[in-house]
Amino acid sequence: MDVFSGLAVGAEAAINPWNILYCLTGVTLGTLVGVLPGIGALAAVSMLLPITYYLEPLAAIIMLAGVFYGSEYGGSTAAILLNLPGTPSSAVVCIEGYPMTKQGRAGVALFTATIASFIGGTLGIIVLMFLSPYLVTVALNFGPQDYFGIMMFGLLAASTIGTGSRLRSIVMVVLGVALGCVGMDLNTGDTRYTFGIPELFDGLNLVALAMGLYGVSEIISSAATPTGNRMKTKVTFRSMIPTRDEVRRSALPIARGAASGSVFGTLPGTGATVASLFSYAMEKRVARGTKPFGTGIVEGIAAPEAANNAASQTAFIPTLSLGIPGSPTMALILGALMLHGIQPGPSLVTSQPALFWGLIVSFWIGNLLLLILNLPMIGLWVRLLQIPHHMLYPAIIPLICVGVYSVRTSPFDVLMVLAFGAAGYLLKLLRFEVAPLMIGFVLGPMIEENLRRALRMSRGDPIIFLQTPVSAISLAICAVMIGFTIWSLLPRKGAQALSVGSE
């Protein structure tokens, strides 16, 4: 199916009042959690997962995806106004955005961020539209060993998420895969690590894991932190218009940002945060402006914002065309698809064209809605940032509880949230980055299945993994990555384990 007939199918599926409403809900919620420091897209998606049970698959994914890319719009708002990033990927926007606020030019900063986000997102969608179907045709020739190779690469790439030590992230990924083994083994019917508890036969509840490990643990950390400076800036619509010179200077940074963002979004393991950091660093090197960086330059806002939005759109490429999530949040969205009984992978595009293209059309709609939400309605978010912490967090906890409980009307699941919340917080105190665990958890069962199938096909001979190009190359890259990690851990003066920015 070529792009244009695909878009036609998608438009038919997506452009109806209900799906547009879900899209609006998703992007609004996304902006909301993006604006609020402490709660991110990951927590929001996990909170919305139970609600999506009651929706059609397409509507559910439209909404969850809206939260995902919507949060990349909102993240810069708090960064600019409060010097507090709303999302990890907007941390770099603080550097240029906050000085602009102090100069009374918050409006211009917010405007630039929004427009850059829109253009970046749009370019990302275009890449998504043309690259995905192509990747799908390639992937249809994959055997289980190829999936295994790519998934292993995805797992190892997941370990590069986070600013902590790579070794620790690898540990988290491995732990995630192991946790994915809890429950009944589909091949034999044997129960693994369930202690006879029937609620565990289906495995650990993905929603409880996500909400506890990320949501609750994050709230425990944030609720204790004292509130930052209360913001008194007023932002009017007129104050948002930038000077012509600034518009001219933003054009190329946006283009460069969108390009690098598209690349990082497509690769598993890297995403919006890496993209924004990289593009800011690139702008610093390339810039020919008069004012130095750090004093409030639009290029320093435009480029990272374009990058992180492009990345958030292209993140759907591996997810939709290969069934491989590039980040923890993507893993959750993939999980949502599976909860609806849809098997992600190359066949998705052909077996569910309405879903695939409908989603893409919804991205267009979503980005337009976000433009409206973030420009004229910016005052809403500004006012929101003035609600004190101690009223917000106690509100979110019961929402999490209700959300998890409603999945199976099971108090046990809520207790799971408690357990994972405690565990997640303690792991964070021990300096573990918890995010990579999710990718391991979602990919684990699939990796096991593909490994089993591959070995069965080859009658136990591991050479099968070297026999096809995709598998061989992926595993070679994995070997190089592992080798590199080991090398960088060896005693050597000044050597630190390298890591890339967090997702």
Binding site: L175, D190, I219, I220, T409
Partner: protein
């Protein structure tokens, strides 16, 4: 030679424990062979890998030269207890007493996490949240849960 900091020791220990946990599946699960993987094959191997990684962690971070320590996050005891108690109370109350009492209790207890919260604002938040849950979950989404059970 090895001067592990407490955090490294704890981290390594926790990981080793988890490794042991998964490895213990070797006693109860059928391992199978490479050709025909049994249910135990992967988790037990992962348990072994975790054990190895726990030692690697100790070696990598245990050297005195292994980089300076940024002060880590401190254990927020009040927040920890309040939030977790809040979730626990929800789990305990929701079936005997219904959704709304559980939500109200959970909100109140969670408010205790921040030291600066006043009773007045906590009550306010509680009322708002309970009303919101009623509107969104019971009326709006029509969740099959009991709102109020005396």
């Amino acid at each position: 030679m090895l001067h592990p900091r407490p955090i490294t020791l704890l981290s390594s220990g926790v990981i080793a424990l988890m490794g042991l946990f998964f490895f213990s599946g070797i006693f109860s699960l059928d391992m199978g062979s490479a050709r025909n993987m049994g249910p135990g094959y992967l988790p037990v191997s992962l348990g072994g890998i975790l054990l190895v990684l726990s030692i690697a962690l100790l070696l990598a971070e245990g050297r005195a030269s292994a980089g300076e320590d940024a002060p880590g996050e401190k254990f927020a005891a009040r927040s920890f207890i309040a939030i977790l108690a809040s979730v626990l109370m929800f789990a305990l109350l929701v079936e005997p007493f219904g959704l709304l009492p559980a939500v109200a209790t959970a909100t109140l207890i969670a408010s205790a996490a921040d030291r600066s919260t006043t009773i007045r604002s906590a009550t306010g938040t509680c009322v708002v949240v309970t009303a919101l849950c009623w509107a969104v979950f019971i009326i709006g989404l029509g969740l099959p849960v009991q709102a109020f059970r005396i």
